[in-house]
Symmetry: C2
Subunit: 303 residues, 2 copies
Amino acid sequence: MTAVYDIENFHRGLVEHGLIIPGEVKGAYGRGTVFEDILRRFDSLVMRTAEGDGAQELTFPPILPRALIEKLGYLDNFPQLAGSVHSFTGNDAGARELSSLVQSGERWEHLLDPTQVMLTPAACYPVYPSFSGLLPDAGRLVTVLGWVYRHEPSDEPTRLQSFRMREFIRMGKPDDVVAWRDAWLQRGLGLLQGLGLPVQSDVASDPFFGRTGKMMAAQQVDQRLKFEILVPVISQEKPTAICSFNWHQDHFSSVFGIRSADSSVAHTACLGFGLERVTLALLKTHGFDPAGWPAEVREQLWP
Amino acid sequence: MTAVYDIENFHRGLVEHGLIIPGEVKGAYGRGTVFEDILRRFDSLVMRTAEGDGAQELTFPPILPRALIEKLGYLDNFPQLAGSVHSFTGNDAGARELSSLVQSGERWEHLLDPTQVMLTPAACYPVYPSFSGLLPDAGRLVTVLGWVYRHEPSDEPTRLQSFRMREFIRMGKPDDVVAWRDAWLQRGLGLLQGLGLPVQSDVASDPFFGRTGKMMAAQQVDQRLKFEILVPVISQEKPTAICSFNWHQDHFSSVFGIRSADSSVAHTACLGFGLERVTLALLKTHGFDPAGWPAEVREQLWP
């Protein structure tokens, strides 16, 4: 049987099977019990796979300092994706005005002020500031599971405004970092193939904004700084990225003064599994009811 | 030995033991490996305690529709706590302006527009819209674990801008809902006492804004709509709420048309454990190193 790729039918199937709970905003649906169970089980499989690596596990909230976003140049490259958090800091009279605007269905956001935080645009961002200074000889390995925000409302179930990434972040000497990235690319392919997903890997680029952005993206591809693992979920021709590998060279380490044991500027790289996307890829490939998934897939997720 | 309550020393101890990773914004610190392990283990204990109840587990992202916040009157009551998400939707020229303002250290938020989403102010909010219509005879029970945002930057480690709540939400006939709330109040006290926490329960009120808010809070206390379980963490005199019980009567059900099987307007109630606060209460009560905690506490969290 040839798989059919059709956004509307896939979405309807997800809703009908209670896998997602649709809402009034695009890309912000709820996750049902079974969806969440698959997601957590996949994350556990990744963590078991990485167990021997001794990654330090850290957890950050879905917000981070506005100053960090500014410092990292995120607004130069991806202004269209950023989410800025604004709050009301006024007095009683201001609150009455706000309330009355809301009640009469008028806009009220001009009564707010920017807070000190923004939404986390990449799960690894909060990690780097903590590692300023000298790394140990072997460098560092950190893992985080975090909620990520991207302002890109879409009808595609695979394109969410808010989703979770399981990331691993490596900091150390350039050769060590690249070797780690290369090894994980093979490991990631093996792990996902082992779940029966028809994956392929490819050089990729980030969604840099505007005309200048096109040049940035081309450079990124030339320098082979970003790879993705892709699998057809909503289209055969345009497969969905479910895992990405980013070699940042000294982009983060130079900003935060992260240095190798010999005092040279360290390199960093990260890789991340898009947990909702992997879950959706499994549902698309094996069907809406995990009870009917192939035994070799179930054995790994329900060990 | 009498316990000492001192915000600065408690914070320093948490940092020195790697339990939290301080950041540049108040109330947005990272959680270390051991902190997160305790938090998850407490959540597992709650879920084991509630296992027989058959709650349906749903998961929502840390954002929700702006329209939902407007509809629920949150901005009338708690405008100071809300977080509104704003994004850049301009063209190339606008992006250049934004970028240049950021680089010269000037304010740039006036170039943003409000999005369709806000930060989730209470983990139970996204649940209600999904249950419009008739409930089954016995009503419904749902559980969620979600990230919550409150704009209240503070030096107290127990007052976070972003934190997790494990909530249970009951919808049904008024008597059933109140009986459920009363039973869980006892169960929650027992569960937390079983972990060696010197808890007490009390009638409570929400932090309604401004002068009118004081009246709302007084009414809420009069009607005994809100209870909290409290434990000393940063002060003996002002113990910290680690679990709260809210009887909403028909506040949510009337907005979303949630009706009991006999077509009458249903009531709703929820209870939530503040997972970071419970973790901090355990660390304060038993010490910074869980290896040294009393055996009867460890047995429950490391079963």
